[in-house]
Assembly symmetry: C2
Homo-oligomer: 263 residues x 2
């Protein structure tokens, strides 16, 4: 964030029907080369590589190798399992793929996240309030807990605080629900929050920044995938991605200035 | 279930430190060959293959090819994501790997499960009450919903009923909580329930069957992994696995007979 003066995370979500060139690894490498001075992180979404089978995962391997080592990689896998199995997933994400952070589901509870959290130098980003309308089906249910009465996603934010003994916990809150983002920020004032949903999903960039950053105007990771990587379907796709990333970063910087939190 | 007169599912969870031989694909093939007349399904756990990287996934590919085509494969991936991304995961599980069913997280709500459910001939097995102690952290919280007042996992079971328009929904309830298993069976009288946690995790086999089966004494899928595949660390591991599977299946059959629900 500080080095590139950016809260922008670029989502590397290759989709055969939308990519300007068919080769996933080459496509991603061009996007990375064009945007690496503009981002705070890259976020490859596992699903898009897995959908292509082993060739897709080989393309992921090449993509990870193309990301400069000083830019964090959030490998978006949304795993969640228990004991032994959680340990195997953590190993897959952090050791096999070498991710700096990964996303996880909270449904199986605190002990299911511990094998991830035990990697004290890796980030564990817990789904809290997701960007889809159906997110409210469970996340919005009122619960009574030790943290008081409130929607389930408040309880998840409280659980995240308690689990954060190594200081390596983050949260996911969708840009499509800026008010809820503000509530979660109030529960977890210092935690990094990954904010997907700006762009194709309709989330508001400025509102996400205002409600998502910490007191210093930092620690909101604003993810944009399709809006940047598919900015053009032509041969100029990498250039177009850079232009779009520059524009997003400038809007973020302008908002932080308006908030009196310049770089 | 009917063909092999069995509710037993064997979990194919290769762990380098426990396998009698180092080659995952060969190990699994021997287990499958030794147990294929005793099971209702096989359940490879994705995490253990992913932890080995691309070679692990190649071993998964070979393992899936070694399973007779008339035995269903539950590919245990516990995925959960939204829209586009959920579609990519469903494609990965059902088209790329060719699984007959997969497990999913409910936390992101009904719309996040629809891309899986749209594969009407594939099973979508929703985490409901998991076998770990921490499962209660969220799943046990009291919520007020359209289905009335109760723990969150009841609400998930109700949601599963509503989502079951294609008749392809199942549930996961741990054997370690037989009372909760009975409650879920009462909410979803006809739905297949995958019951992990017998064996290494300490779940009670007989109680799981009594509380987990439907009115006909069927539709509980009792998964055992370590208790069968690591029954011996010696060269006789496949034979030992068969013996253990035979014993489990016999205990299941005896319990169904006691319940007056023979094959």
């Amino acid at each position: 964030m500080a080095r590139n003066q950016s809260l922008l995370c670029v989502g590397l979500d290759p989709s055969q029907s939308q990519m300007a060139i068919p080769n996933i690894a080459e496509f991603n490498a061009a996007i990375i080369e064009a945007t690496k001075d503009l981002v705070c992180a890259y976020k490859p979404q596992m699903a898009f590589y897995e959908a292509q089978g082993i060739p897709g995962l080989k393309a992921l391997e090449k993509t990870l190798a193309a990301i400069p080592s000083n830019i964090p990689v959030i490998l978006d896998g949304k795993r969640g399992d228990i004991g032994n199995t959680a340990r195997a997933y953590a190993k897959a994400m952090f050791e096999n793929w070498g991710a700096d952070a990964t996303t996880v589901h909270p449904y199986m509870g605190g002990d299911s996240l511990e094998p991830f959290l035990d990697y004290a130098d890796k980030g564990v980003i817990i789904l809290t309030r997701t960007s889809n309308p159906g997110g409210a089906d469970l996340q919005g249910l009122e619960v009574e807990s030790t943290a008081g009465r409130g929607p389930l996603y408040h309880q998840v934010a409280h659980m995240a605080q308690q689990l954060n003994t190594h200081g390596n916990v983050g949260l996911v809150v969708g840009a499509t629900y800026p008010a809820e983002l503000g509530e979660v920020r109030a529960i977890c004032p210092e935690m990094p929050i990954l904010v997907p949903g700006v762009g194709a999903q309709g989330g508001d960039l400025e509102a996400s920044i205002r409600n998502g950053v910490d007191a210093q105007g930092r620690r909101a990771i604003i993810n944009v995938s399709r809006g940047i990587i598919y900015a053009s379907k032509g041969a100029n796709f990498a250039e177009a991605a850079r232009r779009e990333a520059e524009s997003m970063r400038a809007r973020i910087t302008a908002t932080l200035q308006e908030m009196d939190r310049p770089w």
